[in-house]
C-alpha cells in the first residue's frame, strides 16, 4: 500500500472520528434538552410562568403606551414604542434567566453529581443552557408579542429582519449575564442565587430601555456605550421614529456581545475548574 493511500485512509478515519465525536456531543446536548422538556411537560406552573410575566407586562406597557400617545402633549411616543421596548427588554431578562434557571434545576434536584460524572463536558453543558434559554425566551416573549397584535394593534414582527438582529443581540448579552450568574453560584453556592433575578436590572437604567441615553449624565453615557443593549434600544428608537436601521449600532452590539460571551464562557470554565479543585461540585446546593 502506498504512502498516499495510507495518508488518505488516515484522513478519512480521522474525519470519521471527528464526525462521530460531534454526533455524540450533539446527542448529549439534546439529552439535556430532553430532560428540560420532560420537566416542563410535567409541570404546568413552570409552563405558565414562562408566559405569564411577559404577557402581564406587555399588557401593562401597552396601556401605558396608549395613555402617553393620547394624553402627553409635546411628548413623542412612537406607535408601540414602549411595548417594543418592553418586549425586547424581556428578551434580555428571559435569556439570562433561562440560562440560570436551567442550571438551578439541576441544583434543586441534587442531580449535579450524576451529571458531572457522566460523559457530558462542561462546554456541552454551557451549549445546552444557552440553547434552552433561546427556546424558553422565544416561546415566552413570542406569545406576548403575538398577543400584542389583537390587544393593541401593534406587531413587533413589523420590524422585519431588524427584529431578528435585535433579538439575537439581546439573547447573546443575556447568555453572558446568565453564565456569569451560574459561575458565581458555582463559586459561592446557592447564596448567589438571587443574582439571577437581580443582576440584569443593573443594566435597565443605563442601557436606555425606555428613554434615550442622552438623558444620562455624560460619564454614565460612556459606560452605556460599552453595553450591547444600549445599541439595540437606541437602534429600536431610530427604527420606530425614523424608519431607518442603524447598521453601525447593530455591528457594535454584535462585536461587544462576542467579547462579553467569550469572557462569560471563560469565567464558567474557570469556575468549573476551581470547583473541582475545591471539591465544590457535590456541594453547590449548600
Amino acid at each position: 500500500m502506498s504512502r498516499v493511500t495510507i495518508n488518505r485512509w488516515l484522513k478519512r478515519m480521522s474525519r470519521r472520528i471527528l464526525v462521530d465525536q460531534v454526533k455524540q456531543s450533539l446527542l448529549r446536548i439534546f439529552a439535556i434538552h430532553r430532560r428540560h422538556y420532560y420537566l416542563m411537560r410535567g409541570s404546568w406552573p413552570r409552563i405558565a410562568e414562562m408566559f405569564y410575566w411577559p404577557t402581564v407586562q406587555m399588557v401593562m406597557w401597552g396601556f401605558m403606551n396608549q395613555y402617553l400617545t393620547q394624553r402627553a402633549e409635546g411628548v413623542y411616543i412612537g406607535a408601540g414604542m414602549l411595548i417594543a421596548a418592553f418586549l425586547l427588554w424581556d428578551v434580555l431578562f428571559r435569556s439570562q434567566l433561562g440560562v440560570s434557571l436551567a442550571f438551578f434545576e439541576e441544583i434543586y434536584s441534587r442531580n449535579l453529581g450524576y451529571l458531572f460524572v457522566s460523559p457530558l463536558r462542561p462546554q456541552e453543558l454551557v451549549l445546552s443552557l444557552l440553547s434552552i434559554a433561546v427556546l424558553r425566551t422565544g416561546l415566552g416573549v413570542g406569545v406576548a408579542a403575538w398577543l400584542a397584535i389583537p390587544f393593541y394593534g401593534f406587531s413587533i414582527f413589523d420590524l422585519g429582519w431588524a427584529l431578528v438582529a435585535f433579538f439575537c443581540n439581546l439573547i447573546f448579552f443575556g447568555w453572558a449575564i446568565g453564565l456569569a450568574v451560574v459561575s458565581m453560584v458555582m463559586r459561592y453556592g446557592m447564596g448567589a442565587e438571587s443574582l439571577a433575578w437581580a443582576l440584569v436590572f443593573v443594566f435597565a437604567p443605563i442601557t436606555g430601555v425606555y428613554y434615550p441615553i442622552s438623558v444620562l449624565p455624560q460619564w454614565l453615557q460612556y459606560i452605556s456605550w460599552c453595553l450591547p443593549p444600549t445599541y439595540v434600544f437606541e437602534g429600536l428608537r431610530e427604527l420606530i421614529g425614523m424608519h431607518t436601521v442603524n447598521m453601525m449600532f447593530l455591528s457594535y452590539a454584535l462585536v461587544l456581545n462576542l467579547v462579553y460571551v467569550a469572557i462569560a464562557a471563560a469565567l464558567f470554565l474557570v469556575a468549573f475548574r476551581a470547583a473541582r479543585q475545591r471539591g465544590l461540585l457535590l456541594q453547590i446546593g449548600e
Partner: protein, 250 residues
C-alpha cells in the same frame, strides 16, 4: 487491557488548611469487588470524588481503566458509572424519563430496550410512570442502580449502595451486583459502613484512616492478621489505634 482497573499513585488532596488525603497508593485488579472502609473524615468521599474526576488531586496520579483520570477523563467517563443514595435524580421526572435521559447522555444504543430490561430486572416496571420524587427510599436506590448500569460500565463506583434498604431488598441488590460483575467481568468499588456486606461481597478491602491507607487485604486475610472474627472488629481495631497500622502498599 491494563491489569489494574484502579490505580492511585501517591495521591494527596489538600483543601486550604486541611489535608483530606495524605499520600494514598493502592490498586484494584480488573474484575475485583473492592471496598473502601474508614471512619467519618477518613477521606473516603474525597477519594471517591477524585476517582470520578469530581475533585482534582493536589498531587499524585490516578489511573482508571488504564487511562489517566486527570488528562483523559472524558475517555474514561463513558466506561464507568457511579451510584450514591446521597445524589438524587430529577424529582419531577418519571422513572422512565430519568432513565431515558441518562441513556441518551451516555450514548446508549437501543436505549429503550436497555431501559425496559433494567426496569424489569430491578423490579421497577410497576413504578416506571411514577415520578422519582414519589418513590420510597428503596425504590429510589434501585432506580439509581438502574441508571448506573445503563452504559454497562466496566467500573461501577458505589457509595453505600444498600443504605436505606430493607434487608430483603439489600440482599437482592448485593446478589444483583455480584451477578453483574460475574457476567461482565466488571470491577466494583464501593464505600460502605456495612461490614457484613463487605465480608460477603468483596475480594479486597482498603481501610482508610486520617487520609492514609491503614491496611489493604482480602477480608479473610484481614481477619487472620488481626486475629478477629468479624470485619467490624478489625475496623474498630484500626479506628481506635493511634497511628496507621500498615504503610500504604499494593
Amino acid at each position: 487491557m491494563c491489569a489494574k482497573a484502579i490505580e492511585f499513585q501517591d495521591v494527596v488532596k489538600r483543601y486550604e488548611h486541611v489535608t483530606a488525603v495524605a499520600g494514598v497508593s493502592f490498586s484494584i485488579e480488573y474484575g475485583a469487588v473492592a471496598a473502601l472502609l474508614g471512619g467519618n473524615g477518613a477521606g473516603k468521599t474525597t477519594l471517591l470524588s477524585m476517582l470520578l474526576g469530581l475533585v482534582t488531586p493536589t498531587q499524585g496520579k490516578i489511573n482508571v481503566l488504564g487511562s489517566d483520570m486527570l488528562r483523559q477523563r472524558y475517555q474514561v467517563l463513558p466506561k464507568i458509572s457511579f451510584m450514591s443514595p446521597y445524589v438524587e435524580l430529577p424529582f419531577r421526572l418519571t422513572v422512565e424519563q430519568n432513565l431515558t435521559f441518562y441513556a441518551q447522555l451516555y450514548g446508549v444504543s437501543r436505549a429503550r430496550k436497555m431501559v425496559d430490561r433494567l426496569l424489569a430486572e430491578l423490579d421497577l416496571l410497576h413504578v416506571k410512570k411514577r415520578t422519582y420524587g414519589s418513590l420510597s427510599a428503596g425504590q429510589r436506590t434501585r432506580v439509581a442502580l438502574a441508571k448506573s448500569l445503563l452504559n454497562s460500565p466496566e467500573l461501577l463506583v458505589l457509595d453505600e449502595p444498600t443504605a436505606s434498604l430493607d434487608p430483603d431488598t439489600a440482599d437482592y441488590m448485593r446478589g444483583y451486583l455480584l451477578n453483574y460483575r460475574n457476567e461482565n467481568n466488571a470491577t466494583l468499588f464501593m464505600a460502605s459502613h456495612n461490614m457484613v456486606e463487605v465480608e460477603r461481597m468483596c475480594d479486597q478491602v482498603v481501610i482508610l484512616k486520617a487520609g492514609r491507607v491503614a491496611d489493604i487485604a482480602a477480608p479473610a486475610a484481614l481477619l487472620g492478621k488481626y486475629g478477629r472474627g468479624t470485619l467490624e472488629q478489625v475496623f474498630l481495631d484500626v479506628a481506635r489505634h493511634d497511628q496507621p497500622l500498615v504503610k500504604a502498599h499494593e
